[in-house]
Symmetry: C2
Subunit: 331 residues, 2 copies
DNA sequence: CTGTTAGCGCGTTCAT
DNA sequence: ATGAACGCGCTAACAG
């Protein structure tokens, strides 16, 4: 492993000249430059970035905290982050937390120990999330209401309210919900929107219409059991993400229901797959990649010490109507 | 930012003692340890890992080169890699190459500049992939036949052959293929298996039955146009991955075909979603997470300088029969 | 068990 | 335009 010293000897110049040739070539004479370049080529010299980082006290690296790397929504956000990081010359460290706070803490300590310069957290804030804001620069992507640090998010409440209103407008009066875990902030916000829509339509809230899932396809499928057992089944189900909606579709079909005639289903996220399922999914399209880009831009501003004009960005969503929703059957 | 020197002053001991207290506490007296611990707590000291890495000449970091981070198959492999890396105390840098060789080269140089200790490449080897093996420690996950460096893979040829044989055994005689790009090594290997099965059954190869896709759902859907225009359509289609199979299902359904009665479809990979589509997908289940784990274990051996007993691991696949295949309609 | 010393590879003064 | 010298924070000898 050739070092800068080896190059300087080979080129017959000082270390400082080699260093300058690399970082500020305009400050080096033509001949000097040539000698250095030749020596570098001959020795196959590559600067030791570990040393540079140490010297410059910057890791040029950010950590992305993701609860589940095999979740399509998250990976799309990550792609947006990657795009911006790339432009800035930063690397992205993968922090696959798997909902373990121990693992999360370990990744956070990467910043505290200078192995990374900042964090983007891809899960809604909860009070136990314990990001030590005083020692760590962080941005929350896909946040919720009341996130106490910089965040890029959508308006979950309004989005869920709009979906519910749409279902009501089709003539549904009993609208079921397959929610995420009840204490998940996304669940909380979306449930709030659902209730608001019911309220405005003077439809009483019925707890029996809520089935708690955990954002997985399996839990969506599983929830259909609950609804099928009801004597007065809902005619439409609002699912709090696309995965659960896909699971629900599978579940209802297995029971012999015709979709969407017997049951309207809506999702949330608009994964690419949702266009291809049968029936294709009516859902809320989140600008996942944009969320990633915006979060990264915000984080880099913070890292550079710029005080951003806003610390909360609410990105617009788009409600996409496809085949999985229709009016209720006439009794 | 407190340094080790600050701690040593605060504790009234030498720098070396602090260092030892951290890395080899058994070599420090109880009182010394206590003093150091108190000082650390008081100063909120966190060791500068950038410095440690520099000193130890190891980044404790590996790069995962992935063509597309929003591909479910890849992310599952990554999860396996992450698990093992975590155990080893290594971090995972995300190298989202997006099939750009420029980007790929940049990530490779992370190793050459000591920012990472090794690479796992999640795409089949091609001669242009240009991994400089002499200067970079690397493992290829999801490789193909004839990969010239350590690799963990499945037997694509046999797997595709088995799928084809299964379709033939159901009575299909015209079996179509939706392939990946024709020069993609996965496509090549799987096509080889397809042809072998035809050969053994004495069925002549018909180029008209091959439609070239690019492993995306969209290309799968698009390929159905080709088959629908044929006067003698195939009765079964082997898709070279699940995404294209899902796209194909959508396409055929739109044309009014009944699945699987009018057309049997098979996939490859066994994504989680494939269990939930309609009809659920008959496919080849790859041990994606295992592939990731095995690759990482192999890479760490290489990093540690251990000469592994094998440099090629072929992991078993499982053929999963679900609803998307049946015998051809009687004429 | 402890402290002193000498670098790791690089960038950056400050002279020349 | 160039070089000598210092130090970033830490670990690993060595000597005591």
């Amino acid at each position: 492993m050739a070092t800068i010293r080896d190059v300087s000897k080979e080129a017959g110049v000082s270390i400082a000249t080699v260093s300058r040739a690399l970082s500020a070539p305009e400050k080096v004479s033509k001949v000097g430059l040539k000698k250095v370049e030749d020596a570098i080529a001959k020795l196959h010299y590559k600067p030791n970035m570990l040393s540079q980082k140490f010297r410059n006290k910057t890791a040029n690296c950010i950590v992305v905290l993701v609860p589940d790397i095999s979740n399509l929504f998250f990976t799309t956000v990550i792609r947006g982050i990657e795009t911006v990081a790339q432009k800035k010359g930063f690397n992205v460290l993968l922090g696959d937390t798997r909902d373990s706070s121990t693992r999360e803490k370990n990744f956070i300590s990467l910043v505290e120990t200078r192995q990374a310069d900042g964090i983007i957290q891809l899960r809604p804030y909860t009070s136990d999330s314990a990001l030590p804001m005083e020692s760590v620069i962080a941005v929350n992507a896909s946040g919720c209401e009341n996130t106490p640090y910089p965040t890029v998010r959508i308006d979950n409440v309004t989005a869920a309210k709009d979906v519910t209103k749409y279902l009501l407008s089709l003539g549904h009066t009993r609208v079921g919900v397959i929610s995420g875990l009840h204490d998940n902030p996304h669940s909380v916000d979306r449930m709030k929107g659902y209730k608001q829509a019911l309220d405005e339509a003077n439809i009483p809230f019925d707890a029996a219409l809520i089935s708690e899932g955990d954002f997985t396809m399996w839990s969506g499928l599983n929830s259909t059991e609950h609804f099928m057992r009801m004597s007065d089944m809902p005619t439409a189900i609002l699912c709090m993400n696309d995965e659960m909606a896909i699971g629900a579709i599978k579940g209802f079909r297995r029971k012999g229901l015709k979709l969407p005639e017997d049951m309207s289903i809506t999702g949330f996220d608009d994964l690419e797959i949702s266009r291809y399922c049968e029936p294709s999914l009516t859902t809320v399209s989140q600008p996942a990649e944009k969320v990633g880009e915006k979060s990264a831009e915000l984080l880099f501003k913070l890292i550079e010490g710029v005080v951003p004009s806003q610390t909360e960005y609410i990105l617009p969503v788009e409600f996409v109507i496809r085949e999985s929703t229709t009016g209720p059957r006439k009794q």
